[in-house]
């Protein structure tokens, strides 16, 4: 087994990960009254307090700021959840790995698809908010398929690598959780890149920033900077190569580490 064969077999089983990922979301909210809306209620409470507060602190008019902030916080949830899920992908599928032996790409794609379904769900809030804030602009959706592809590819190879190591060293999951927590403040989510003035380029060193841009920019009416496309293409390629060369050392040993 190598990475290419793993990906090919996983692609043939597309119906499996689409189905399992979808059921993950469905099951989580099955017997709750508000269903998947619970995903957004927390963020909306957060935004309703932080929106007015930060627009005052940053001295920006609310109407310019609120649409940006709601969209950013909700899309950030998707990026954050993907990276929080990544270290435990294999641990959560331990029974499958030892006794069913599916191609690993199935577990990664299931995790990514699950989070994209939740992302799709959050558009119920994002779309009306950005529409009424006059941020929506159809042209900015032209590259949206490319944006999604870049997020998926980066997520996929990050997941192979980090999930593999995260199975061997169980410290990776808590480390990732604290990185994500800090990243919420270090990434332009509640603040804007432009507020850094001449130091705006510092955000380019933050990989989460580029992924966030891919998912939120179309709804905020702009196309991400070229540098975001370049960085994510390069990281996807590096991720692929690293996964490819380490496949025998990491992926084929995962079953022993469970």
């Amino acid at each position: 087994m190598d990475l290419l064969k793993d990906l090919k077999l996983g692609a043939e089983r597309y119906y499996l990960w689409l189905y399992l990922g979808w059921r993950d979301v469905y099951r989580r909210y099955l017997r709750s009254f508000l269903g998947p809306s619970w995903l957004f209620i927390n963020s909306l409470v957060l935004v309703s307090v932080m929106g007015p507060l930060y627009s005052f602190l940053f001295k920006i008019p609310m109407e310019n700021y609120l649409g940006y902030m709601i969209t950013s916080v909700l899309t950030w949830q998707t990026v954050a959840q993907i990276f929080n899920d990544i270290p435990s992908v294999y641990i959560n599928n331990s029974g499958f790995i030892t006794d069913v032996n599916l191609p690993f790409s199935v577990y990664h794609m299931q995790m990514l698809w699950r989070n994209l379904v939740i992302y799709g769900n959050s558009l119920i809030i994002i779309l009306p908010v950005t529409f009424f804030s006059h941020l929506l602009n159809l042209q900015s959706f032209l590259l949206f398929p490319v944006n999604l592809l870049l997020v998926v590819l980066n997520g996929l190879f990050a997941s192979y690598l980090i999930a593999g190591i995260g199975t061997r060293f169980r410290d990776i999951a808590p480390i990732m959780a604290s990185i994500i927590q800090i990243a919420f403040f270090a990434t332009p989510i509640i603040w804007k890149k432009e507020m850094l003035g001449p130091h705006y380029y510092l955000t380019y060193f933050n990989p989460f920033f580029h992924m966030l841009e891919m998912l939120r920019a179309p709804f905020l009416g702009y196309v991400p900077d070229a540098i975001s496309y370049i960085v994510l293409s390069v990281t996807a390629l590096i991720g692929f190569l690293l996964t490819f060369v380490s496949y025998r050392r990491i992926q084929t040993r995962v079953a022993y580490w469970l």
């Binding site: 499996l16 189905y19 499958f96 030892t98 032996n101 040993r253």
Partner: protein, 216 residues
């Protein structure tokens, strides 16, 4: 040294030794394993607890890759150990037929053809409309077993002969498992029961602490 003597006396687990690279005790679960099976072969794997029977099955399945040596498999393998995995407690019995089907590699429309047979054999009837969290563990086993033995399999790995359900059902299930296994091209059965091994299998290996000690 103490450990080795304990093992040879009581026979549990694989061979324990000192791993030179990591300076820690390590277990060699399987060593010097070599055999080949072809169509029509029914292999019984026997041995004490921890002899390596399940590890051998998982190595054949491909979830454990040998650290040295080679494994070659032609054909689609199904491990009956995994037949309980992936059930969604909140989904109905019917829905779970399709979930299990997808896990075994069958799309929804392919699985559709097996639903009647599964309903009939499992005797679950209208209960298939209920979420499986409402099932008793016996009913759950019936469903899992019925799904697993309905779809065809080329190579079957069985960790102990399955016994499912109450007295009446377990007799029926036994017949079904026999005909399911008979349709397969290759069977590997790990078991402690020598009578069963003799009845079902035409080949047998006996394992001790990760090695094959006799083969027939």
């Amino acid at each position: 040294m103490l450990m080795t003597s304990l093992i040879s006396k009581y026979l549990v687990g694989g061979r324990i030794h000192q791993d030179k690279k990591h300076h820690a005790p390590a277990v060699t679960a399987l060593e010097n394993i070599s055999f080949s099976l072809r169509e029509g072969d029914r292999l019984a794997v026997r041995g004490h607890n921890g002899a390596g029977k399940t590890t051998l099955l998982r190595t054949i399945l491909g979830s454990y890759l040998p650290t040295s040596g080679k494994r070659t498999v032609h054909g689609q393998i199904i491990s009956m150990v995994g037949m309980n995995l992936g059930f969604d407690n909140e989904a109905s019995g019917y829905e779970n037929i399709f979930i299990r089907g997808a896990i075994m590699g069958f799309q929804r429309r392919q699985m559709q053809g097996y639903v009647d047979d599964i309903r009939e054999f499992s005797e679950l009837g209208d209960y298939l409309n209920f979420p499986v969290r409402t099932y008793s563990s016996g009913m759950m086993m019936r469903l899992a077993f019925s799904i697993a033995t309905t779809v065809p399999a080329e190579i079957i790995l069985l960790d102990e002969w399955l016994s499912v359900g109450d007295a009446a059902f377990s007799e029926k299930a036994d017949e079904r498992l026999q005909s399911f296994v008979a349709k397969a091209k290759i069977l590997v059965l790990a078991t402690h029961n020598p009578k069963l091994a003799e009845k079902v299998c035409n080949k047998s290996i006996e394992m001790e602490s990760g090695r094959i000690i006799s083969q027939s």
